[in-house]
Symmetry: C2
Subunit: 329 residues, 2 copies
């Protein structure tokens, strides 16, 4: 007998009339496993094209004191309710590239190549996903920064401290710029996280970018079609955006909430990374009430990829309804 | 003056101290737009690796009579509530490739290359997304079919009617096989859709595959770790699966519901494509009660990509909670 593969299959087919006989298929080579799809996703806002380009994610043990006005057990219970593990928290990072009117605009830059090197590639994927999306960092015209936390600004620099977008103008909220560059504010910053943030911003903007930035103002278009909106609380100059083209709009929220589970479901929780907790709650409720009432799409930097959703009210909080993945564009 | 790009940017930076001056960045080449990311996504179930490999989607005007026991306006309202357009329905198609124990198993095959050629590539993407995922159709050991509707079986054949997975054994539910291959059932089929389905199945399984299939039975493992589960109603032999590896499981529902919005939210709706509407409702409630009670993950063929979710009860229906996209694996 010839035990070629074709023969074995023909035999198996011949056995089909007796379906309960065990089937022992011939082993074929399995593909190399373990590589996830590239993290980019495209959608249109009128004539503009948005590319969500993931910087990956970071999973950490559920931190003590993550929420200053809720117990750790309450946070764990909220995570479990949302079908997440009780004992860890995963943070997602979603920079954007917007192509509007022929301009190529990056909004926020992720953690950069070095910050979470210990995550072994889980975070810090922005540059590789940009390449996968066919976007050349040298072709970027503008980088718009929403606020000066490391996961938004560290990707402004390469691993050797050079500008990651060498031909781009860097635009920053003027209030945010003044706050972090103020020597008095820096001298009053508590040791630890806040002092570290000030030092990091001096590293990025002074040593790295030589202060070559353009401050922008709230209530005005940063570039035509991209309006800056004051959404303070998370930081003193925290900024969101309304991207619009014709009648089509999306609200780019930045960090008005972190992951909607549990942060939009529990909008009154004050997270340790919100610099002014009560103001962040006030802003969050105002923005999410608007999103729900206007049925406006929202793009969340810390939403799970790709992070485009609608918002609906549910009880005392809000639910996100992720937009279905569109296989074409 | 030298109006190089570098110079222009330096000048713009020099203007930063007066932030309200208009900024006129130099135009750079924008990337080629309009190409969506490839539709594949990987996750682990214990030691097994699942690749969801999208066949794309199809958007049609909201059909009359889509739901036999609800008015078109009610369906439109349910779509609107879920932030979908009122007047169209989008159908998503999500075949799977499971790598378990060194075997490479395709579960359902999508619409094939020809069925929705008029969709201009929106549907019929399975073969191209397989290639993007690095999976060679020739390396597939087994193709497991859940039921005999065209969006599940037509991808068994290439455009010229040859087996698309030339080295694979094709496994089919024995009840489904008997039903569609029964000449009496075929002769009694109403003209139109049902007659067309019988003819299509003869084309695929007789002309294309020369009846080289292996029937499988409910309640048994089709291959170790992949158990076939009776979930009839949508078709007489409709089959779901429990994929398990160690303590880790996922319920591969096939078409117990179509898109969870609106079909899981309104589980008593009888869709025109459910061949036995009342039985489909009974099966749907039984399965979704189990998924909610056991907090078991579900993979849905017609869920929006990538289609992995949990289910929770909500009012008289069910909500899907999509699993967050994991940027690593």
């Amino acid at each position: 007998m010839d035990f070629t593969r074709r023969h074995a299959l023909t035999s198996a087919a011949a056995l089909a009339a007796t379906p309960l006989l065990p089937v022992l298929p011939v082993k074929a080579a399995a593909p190399v496993a373990g590589k996830q799809n590239a993290g980019f996703y495209r959608y249109k806002v009128g004539d503009a094209e948005v590319s969500v380009v993931s910087d990956g994610s970071l999973t950490v043990p559920l931190p003590d004191g993550l929420i200053t006005n809720a117990k750790k057990d309450e946070v764990a219970a909220a995570l479990e309710k949302a079908f997440r593990p009780r004992d860890t928290m995963t943070f997602y990072f979603g920079p954007l590239v917007v192509n509007t009117g022929g301009k190529l605009i990056v909004i926020d830059t992720g953690n950069g190549p070095a910050t979470f090197a210990s995550s072994k590639g889980a975070a810090g994927q922005f540059a590789s996903n940009l390449a996968a999306a066919g976007i050349d960092a040298k072709a970027v015209d503008m980088v718009v920064i929403s606020h000066f936390h490391g996961d938004h600004v560290n990707g402004l620099l390469t691993a050797d401290g050079q500008p990651a977008f060498p031909n781009a103008e860097v635009l920053v909220p003027s209030v945010e710029w003044k706050y972090w560059m103020d020597d008095g504010e820096m001298s009053r910053a508590p040791a630890g996280r806040m002092e570290g943030l000030f030092k990091n911003n001096r590293r990025v903007f002074e040593a790295g970018l030589k202060k070559k930035v353009t401050p922008y103002e709230w209530g005005k278009d940063v570039v035509p079609g991209l309006r800056a909106v004051e959404t303070i609380g998370h930081t003193p100059g925290h900024t969101s955006y309304v991207l619009s083209s014709g009648p089509d709009t999306v609200f780019i929220q930045s960090d008005v909430t972190n992951n909607p589970e549990p942060f939009a479901r529990n909008p009154d929780w004050q997270a340790s990374f919100d610099q002014d907790g009560p103001q962040a709650v006030k802003t969050r409720r105002k923005v999410y009430d608007m999103l729900a009432a206007d049925r406006m799409r929202v793009q969340g930097f810390h939403y799970p990829f790709p992070g485009l959703a609608n918002i609906e009210k549910d009880g005392t909080g809000y639910r996100w309804v992720p937009a279905p993945w569109n296989p074409s564009i």
